[in-house]
Subunit: 396 residues, 2 copies
Amino acid sequence: MTNTTSPADLADEIVQRLRTVVGPGRAHLHEPHFAGNERDYVLECIESTFISSVSPFVQRFEDLLREITGAEHAVAVVNGTAALHLSLVLAGVEPGDEVLMPSLSFVATANAAAHAGAVPHFVDVDTRTLGLDPMALREHLEQSTSRVDGVCVNQDTGRVIRAVVPMHTFGHAVQVDALVEVADDFGLVVVEDAAEALGTTYKGRHAGTFGALGTLSFNGNKTVTTGGGGAILTNDGALAARARHLSTTAKVPHRWAFVHDSVGWNYRMPGLNAALGCAQLEQLDGFVQRKRTLVDRYRSAFEGFSAGVIREEEPECHSNYWLQALILEPSAALHRDMILEEVNDAGLGVRPCWTLLHRLAPFSDAPRASTPVSESLERRIINLPSSVFLTPEPVG
Amino acid sequence: MTNTTSPADLADEIVQRLRTVVGPGRAHLHEPHFAGNERDYVLECIESTFISSVSPFVQRFEDLLREITGAEHAVAVVNGTAALHLSLVLAGVEPGDEVLMPSLSFVATANAAAHAGAVPHFVDVDTRTLGLDPMALREHLEQSTSRVDGVCVNQDTGRVIRAVVPMHTFGHAVQVDALVEVADDFGLVVVEDAAEALGTTYKGRHAGTFGALGTLSFNGNKTVTTGGGGAILTNDGALAARARHLSTTAKVPHRWAFVHDSVGWNYRMPGLNAALGCAQLEQLDGFVQRKRTLVDRYRSAFEGFSAGVIREEEPECHSNYWLQALILEPSAALHRDMILEEVNDAGLGVRPCWTLLHRLAPFSDAPRASTPVSESLERRIINLPSSVFLTPEPVG
């Protein structure tokens, strides 16, 4: 923002530039798009009467996920929070443990740790990836933890740090290979929160397949939706089998007997949702292509804009561009709330980033590293309308 | 069973008698029936693009539940386990507390307590209702608890007993008014597990509306299904508001800001599932009528059967007859497994009752009263094919 531009003019300029991309009328932040076999598959599912989690559509959905991500196993569950919670349990997280995660994330990341009885432990992000910073993580672990009986212990709290949850912010891949290296050095299990990153690769490998476990979300606002849904990815057959077992009330298979060998959950995805999801997954490539076209348009629209830049992928990442983002210059960021107000008033669905998790009441006492980059980004990020249908279907 | 009948003859006789009701061919234990507006509503939901929990179908589903049950509030969630878990949290159950429940129940009842960090505490059931016995409960509480600072404390474990969860077995109502009285006398909150009892009334009032909170399930095997789903019923507006808040990540309403004031869950039912559920609820009366016709037929079919009786409702209960049951005589019960084997081999889906919860590994150390009635019933119950479509649509 130049010194001569008023905040109102700035908001107005943003509206004008956005309008060149999204056209006139209302544009929400993210709406689903049902242009494939959604209706047919859902009707087929109802016709079969197998609408619960024993439906063949659940298997088909998981097969498609395996194909798309290259993960050896995919386990469909009710939502991304359930996927993360169960993954943390599978990672060996126990009540009273700590779980490392970025403070810049949706609350589900921290809730999942709480559901496992654990305490989130917040670390800073990298200004380029918007995700966990491997160097900052290593430094923090070197300074504040020690190895006791082979496990990583927080010197301040005395609690075991069991796992680390890198999150691929807005669909952009974090430097997950470097993070896995740090985790290995400190004896931590990596559970990737790839809720936003279906269709994203890092160094040619799909997000969510670097850690011991990875999780996806198919909430209504995601690139691909099942209404509500999630999945666990893993290359470890034993973990996958355990995920299936624990997510179906830990029932031991038997023709009729009800024997459950552990506390379990009712976490499997119903067939009705999987049927919708199968149709959506078939369109994923086109969806990602259109989202990548959208960022090209936003980039052009914001050429010469002095108060911020459109977020773009890092060289090693092929992003799904789930949510487009404008990163404001620090001086413009002072007026973020006014901008949000006026742009939303103009019928354009924009929103800030999440409130940093360590500033939410339920997690304000949680341990954390210093988080200057997260704090700067929190003030500067504005997410832009990102629906697939804002750009035309690719030709051919 | 007369002394002259062999176990194989007994199984054969049961098959013959069942065949007079269900006809030839395979009959599963319980299959859903989609004969109403299921297809239309689900397509309408997809067309609207509101397939997640913000869909108007969720509101409509809850309105229908309120109408049917007479509860002032209904909150639709992802499944019955989630409904129970959240209800226990709302009832004030805290980690380390105990929750009273029948040992004769599906594992979800105990899992929900474990998810809340609590320990199940098992009590015996009544031979007539198959649900918690109010007299046995009172006697057990008198003998094994004391009142400390206004709360009920287990003298053996020193833990607070916070709530009691009566379960309406197979859709038959438990003596819930008497149980509420006992609970009141001992300072316990009543959370009714009415997972199986949609459409059931006790003394003219719908199951699940006697306790502070009641829960329903719409799993694929229930009278009415949403694929996977559940609901919380309550007449307390504050509890309902809290249920909505906690089940939607405890997000404080705001035009854009992400503020969450508590650990929350992703527990709301997606619109896609609610759309199916609306169509199913519209047919509930007919479904219950047909299930009640089915028990008439089973009763006729098993007239003069010496080895067991068809389970019927108690005078004060109008049952939905979710699952039909044959209660074997003790001598015949010795051959239960052989009967199950042979009847299933004949293509008729029958099953025993659940393994008593206190005999499952995860709950074997849980506190409990003596449970002679539960133990007898566990050996004697055989559930019979119970699908709605086994009897014709009512005329007029």
